[in-house]
C-alpha cells in the first residue's frame, strides 16, 4: 500500500508537469501578444495606453517576463515560480499577486466542491441502499425515477429551479453572494443533485449485485437478517464499484462549480478563473489551471486510497504481489 502511494504521488508529479507544459504552449499559441497593450482591457494596459507609454511599459514587461529568452527558459521560470509560490502579479489586479488572489478565493471553491461531493455520496448511499434492499418495490421505483430525472437535468437548471422555489417563492434561503453557511445550501444542492442521480443508481445496482452473492446466503444461513446482510456484508463490497464512479464525477464537478459560482455570485476561484480567461490575464489563467488540475489529481488519489481502506485485497497486496 505504501509503495502504491509513492507510485501514485510520482504519477501526479509527472502529470502535473505535462499539464503545465500544455497550458504553457496553449498560452503561447493563442493569437496576439500581450506586449501589444492596446489590444488589452487590463488595468495596466489601459493606464499605459492612455498615457502614451505603451512602448516603455511593453519593454519593461518583456524584461520582467523574460520574453526575450528561449521558450524552455521561460517555461522553467514559470514552473519554478509556481513551485516556490512566487506566482507573479495579475494583469487585472496589479497590486495583488496571484497567490493572494487564489488564497482569497480558493477555499470557498474547494469547500463548495468537497461539500457537494460529500452530500452527493452520503445521500446516494442512503437512497441507493433503500432502493436495493426493497428491490422492485414502490420505494425502489420512485427513488430510481427521481434519480433518472436528476441525471438528465444539468446543475445550472437545477440551480435556477432551486433559486425559484426556495429564494423567490418561499424566501427561505439566500440566492446571491456569500455571507455565511446558509448561502452555501442551494449551490451545494445544485451541484449534488445531478451527481446523485447517476451515483444512487450505481449504488443500488452494485448493492443488489452484492446481495445476490453467495456469501450473503451464508449470512442468512448464520441467522442474519436482511439489514445485517446489507449493512454488515454487502455494503462494503458494493462501495468499491461505487467509489469508482465518483472519480470521473470530480472533473465534471470542477466544471460545475464554474457555472454555479457565477449563478450564485459566489466569490470563488471559478469566478476569478473565468474572468482571467476573458481578459487574458495570463498569470492568473496559468496558475488557476495548474491549481485545478492539482486538485482533481489529489481528489482522485484520495478516491484510490479509499479503495485500499475498503478492500483488504488491495490494502494487503504486498503479501500477494
Amino acid at each position: 500500500m505504501f509503495k502504491y502511494l509513492i507510485r501514485r504521488v510520482l504519477y501526479i508529479i509527472v502529470a502535473f508537469f505535462v499539464v503545465s507544459l500544455v497550458t504553457f504552449f496553449l498560452m503561447k499559441a493563442a493569437p496576439g501578444s500581450f506586449l501589444q497593450l492596446n489590444q488589452y482591457v487590463g488595468n495596466i494596459a489601459a493606464a499605459a495606453t492612455s498615457m502614451g507609454l505603451d512602448n516603455v511599459v511593453a519593454q519593461e514587461l518583456a524584461q520582467e517576463y523574460h520574453l526575450h529568452d528561449p521558450w524552455y527558459v521561460q517555461y522553467w521560470y514559470y514552473v519554478w515560480h509556481f513551485i516556490t509560490f512566487h506566482m507573479g502579479y495579475s494583469f487585472e489586479f496589479p497590486n495583488t499577486d496571484t497567490m493572494t488572489l487564489i488564497r482569497q478565493t480558493f477555499p470557498l471553491s474547494l469547500g463548495l466542491a468537497v461539500t457537494s461531493i460529500a452530500v452527493a455520496m452520503v445521500l446516494s448511499i442512503v437512497f441507493g441502499t433503500l432502493a436495493a434492499v426493497r428491490e422492485n418495490s414502490w420505494i425502489d421505483g420512485s427513488t430510481m425515477f427521481v434519480a433518472m430525472i436528476g441525471t438528465a437535468v444539468p446543475s445550472y437548471v437545477v440551480a435556477v429551479f432551486l433559486m425559484l422555489v426556495f429564494g423567490v417563492w418561499f424566501h427561505l434561503l439566500p440566492v446571491l453572494g456569500y455571507q455565511g453557511p446558509q448561502y452555501f445550501i442551494l449551490p451545494v444542492l445544485s451541484l449534488a443533485i445531478p451527481m446523485m442521480g447517476s451515483m444512487s443508481r450505481y449504488m443500488r445496482n452494485s448493492l443488489i449485485e452484492s446481495l445476490h452473492s453467495e456469501y450473503i446466503i451464508t449470512v442468512f444461513a448464520k441467522g442474519g437478517s436482511l439489514w445485517q446482510a446489507a449493512f454488515g456484508h454487502a455494503m462494503r463490497n458494493s462501495l468499491l464499484p461505487f467509489v469508482t464512479v465518483v472519480g470521473p464525477h470530480l472533473a465534471a464537478l470542477m466544471m460545475g462549480t464554474v457555472f454555479i459560482e457565477q449563478l450564485f455570485g459566489l466569490p470563488g476561484l471559478a469566478h476569478v478563473f473565468t474572468d482571467a480567461a476573458s481578459t487574458r490575464d495570463y498569470p492568473l489563467i496559468m496558475d488557476s489551471t495548474l491549481l485545478y488540475s492539482l486538485v482533481i489529481m489529489v481528489m482522485n488519489l484520495i478516491v484510490d486510497l479509499i479503495y485500499g481502506v475498503l478492500d483488504p485485497r488491495i490494502r494487503r497486496s504486498r503479501y500477494v504481489q
Binding site: 453467495e214 451464508t218 448464520k222 485485497r313
Partner: protein
C-alpha cells in the same frame, strides 16, 4: 430412536418463463437424532434444492409444499422471524465452495463470531474466545493470527475448515453439508470428511450430507437416500449399498464407478438424459425412459416397496439385485457397455 428431522412429501416448484420447473417432487426422509444420512444424486436431481428449502433460503419464485418436522415444529409453517432464530443456531449449513461463500472483505474472525452475535448468545469478547477455540479444534494452526486474516489469505481446505467451525459455533442440532468437498483437492477432501465425522460424533448432532459421490456417502452416513428427478428412488442402510441395492438406477450408478484394479475398459454409463423438469412430468416411473428393465407397468407411477428395515425402493420390480430378478438371471443389461443403448 426419535427423529430429529422428518420430511414429508416435500415438493418444490419454480415459476419460469418456460413453465413450471419441478425441482423436488415428493421427498420423504427421516434423520434419527445423532445420526448421519447422505443424499446422493446427479446434478439437477433436487438434492441441494431440498436442503435449501429446509433452510428456507430459496428465492421467492419457489413454491414449496409438504412438511418439514424439526424439533417438534413444522419449519415450513414458521414465520420468517422464527426461522431466522433457528438458522445458524439449531440448524447450520456448510456450502460447496468456501471461497465464494465467505465475504472477501471481512476477516475470518469477524465472520466466525457472527452466529453467536446474531443470536445474542455471547458478548463479542466471549464470541472471540470461542471462535479461537473452534479454529484450533478444526485444525487451524496459529489461530490467534489467522483470526485476523482475510479469506484470500487461506487455502480452499483451510476455508472449508473455517466454514465448518462457523457452522458449529452455536452448537446446532442439525448440520447440513452441501457437497462440502466437491471444490477441494482429493487429499484435502479426506481430511475434511474425517473432521466432519469426528465433530458430528463429538457434538452428537444430526448430519445430512449432500453428495454425488457414492463412496463418500457410504463412508460418512448410516443411511443413504438416492434421488432421481426430485424423488427418492431408494433408501437403504449404507452397509447394504453394495450387497442389497435394488433400483436399476442405483445399479447403473454403481456399475459406472471405475475400478482402480480392473482392466482399462470403456466405462459403462446410463444411457439417455435425465428427466426434463420443466413443464408436466412424465406419467409413469420417472426413470422408465432410461431403464433397461422397463415393463408395461412402468407406465404407471411405481409403488414404494419396503424390502427391509430402513430399506425402501420405488420400483415395480423391487427385488432386482446384483444376481438377478424374478424373471431370470440378471444379464447385466441396465447399462450398456461402451454406450450401447438398450
Amino acid at each position: 430412536m426419535s427423529a430429529v428431522l422428518r420430511i414429508d412429501d416435500l415438493r418444490v416448484q419454480f415459476r419460469s418463463d418456460q413453465g413450471l420447473v419441478h425441482a423436488v417432487n415428493g421427498l420423504n426422509l427421516e434423520l434419527p437424532a445423532g445420526g448421519a444420512i447422505a443424499i446422493v444424486g446427479e446434478s439437477g436431481s433436487g438434492k441441494s434444492t431440498a436442503m435449501t428449502a429446509l433452510m428456507r433460503l430459496l428465492p421467492r419464485t419457489a413454491r414449496v409444499s409438504g412438511r418439514i418436522w424439526f424439533d417438534g415444529q413444522d419449519l415450513l409453517a414458521l414465520s420468517e422471524r422464527q426461522m431466522r432464530k433457528l438458522r445458524g443456531h439449531q440448524v447450520s449449513m456448510v456450502f460447496q465452495n468456501p471461497m465464494a461463500y465467505l465475504n472477501p472483505t471481512k476477516t475470518i474472525g469477524q465472520q466466525l463470531m457472527e452466529p453467536l452475535l446474531y443470536h445474542h448468545l455471547a458478548t463479542p469478547r466471549q464470541a472471540r474466545w470461542r471462535a479461537l477455540e473452534f479454529l484450533e479444534r478444526v485444525g487451524i494452526a496459529d489461530a490467534e493470527s489467522r483470526f485476523k486474516g482475510y479469506p484470500f489469505e487461506f487455502s480452499g481446505g483451510m476455508l472449508q475448515r473455517v466454514m465448518i467451525a462457523m457452522a458449529l459455533m452455536a452448537g446446532p442440532k442439525l448440520l447440513i453439508a452441501d457437497e462440502p468437498t466437491t471444490a477441494l483437492d482429493v487429499t484435502v477432501q479426506a481430511e475434511i470428511l474425517a473432521l466432519l465425522k469426528e465433530l458430528q460424533a463429538e457434538h452428537g448432532m444430526g448430519m445430512i450430507l449432500v453428495t454425488h459421490d457414492l463412496a463418500v456417502a457410504a463412508q460418512m452416513a448410516d443411511e443413504i437416500y438416492v434421488m432421481y428427478a426430485g424423488l427418492v428412488v431408494e433408501h437403504l442402510p449404507a452397509g447394504s449399498l453394495m450387497s442389497a441395492h435394488a433400483h436399476p438406477y442405483l445399479h447403473g450408478l454403481l456399475r459406472s464407478i471405475p475400478r482402480i484394479d480392473g482392466p482399462r475398459e470403456k466405462l459403462p454409463f446410463i444411457a439417455g438424459n435425465p428427466v426434463n423438469p420443466v413443464g408436466a412430468l412424465p406419467q409413469g416411473c420417472l426413470f422408465a425412459s432410461r431403464c433397461s428393465q422397463r415393463r408395461p407397468e412402468c407406465n404407471q407411477r411405481p409403488p414404494t416397496v419396503r424390502l427391509d428395515n430402513n430399506h425402501e425402493v420405488v420400483c415395480w420390480l423391487p427385488d432386482i439385485g446384483v444376481e438377478g430378478d424374478k424373471s431370470g438371471p440378471f444379464d447385466v443389461p441396465t447399462v450398456g457397455p461402451a454406450g450401447t443403448r438398450l
